[in-house]
């Protein structure tokens, strides 16, 4: 069961491959047969079920292309905020 999800901005991705290298769960791949809007092959969040929402792909993305979201219960969130 996924604990979170990531969103990859294809306009920013430059296909360096750091997210694929450092993802512990092997959730991200770079398919070679598809190019993004800038002409680079772009990273794809291909195995969403295994994402543990650790945030490493987001930190190590040099191009600010990855946003990481974690699933939290809404009650817990209210307690944190209050």
């Amino acid at each position: 069961m996924a604990k979170g999800e990531i969103v990859i901005d294809e306009m920013l991705c430059q296909s360096c491959g750091f997210c694929v290298e450092f993802c512990n769960q092997e959730c991200i791949t770079i398919p070679e047969n598809r190019l993004g809007p800038k002409g680079f092959p772009v990273a794809v969040f291909s195995v969403p079920d295994k994402c543990s929402a650790c945030g490493i792909c987001g930190w190590m993305c040099p191009d600010f292309a990855i946003q990481v979201f974690k699933y939290v219960k809404s009650e817990a969130n209210i307690n944190q905020g209050g």
């Binding site: 979170g4 450092f22 930190w59 191009d63 990481v68 979201f69 974690k70 699933y71 939290v72």
Partner: protein, 273 residues
Amino acid sequence: MGEGAMIKQQIVGKPKAVQLDFLPFKFCPGCHESLVWRALGEVIDELDIEGKAIACLDIGCSGILMVGLTVDGIHCLHGRSTAVAAGVKRVLPQAICFNIGGDGSLGAIGVGHVINVMMRSDPITTIFLNNSGYGMTGGQVAPTSLLGLRTTTTPEGRDVQSAGFPLHLSEIAATMTGTAYASRVSVHTPANYQKARKAIKTAFQKQMDGVGYSIVEILCACPPNWGLSPLAANSFVEEKLIGEFPLGEFKNVDKIEHTFDPELKRVGRVKRG
């Protein structure tokens, strides 16, 4: 309240102090300066100094951050960013002044200014990006280039007779009394990235506490000039660059101790009284 009560909370994204609108093309794929950029943005957000930080940026790829950070900035002459930052700090003591430069500017043409700032103990922060060569101008040999490294100006590899030995600026900084903080970090793995962010934060903290000069040297990969893929450049940092430039914290003091010897006032040619 069942399964539907789960909500999404963003844990990693673009820091607030980073702006991407003016840069349609940023750094090369796999460039580590972008990671330094992110770390700087996160530190500026954490310390909440966006309104009072002033960046003095040097010539080279580091100057691209002029429009990449939301803080005020000055684009300085080649190698003079340290001197300009020291001047800005003297005029505006409440500002948080930092300068960013590569090894071509702070290690070669501007190394004298860095030494002078260490000597005067100006409370500024230097981010020194060491990528073992000149990046923007096309991969010439720099003072920090590894021995034997093939560059455009040393096609047979850097040799000692013509280009000397690599420069270790952090170790020099650690020997100076006026330095409050000197460390060398890298950003090639997630753990090292976190250490780099912590080092930048500590350096800013030393400046905010008014202790003295702080310098953070960051080992950066330059995949185009090394002729390597982004991941191969990452391994190059791990295998070769860290071997020559060991990581670590070389100096970290909370107060710079100094004493005056009263007897020294009585020597010298000038007659008093």
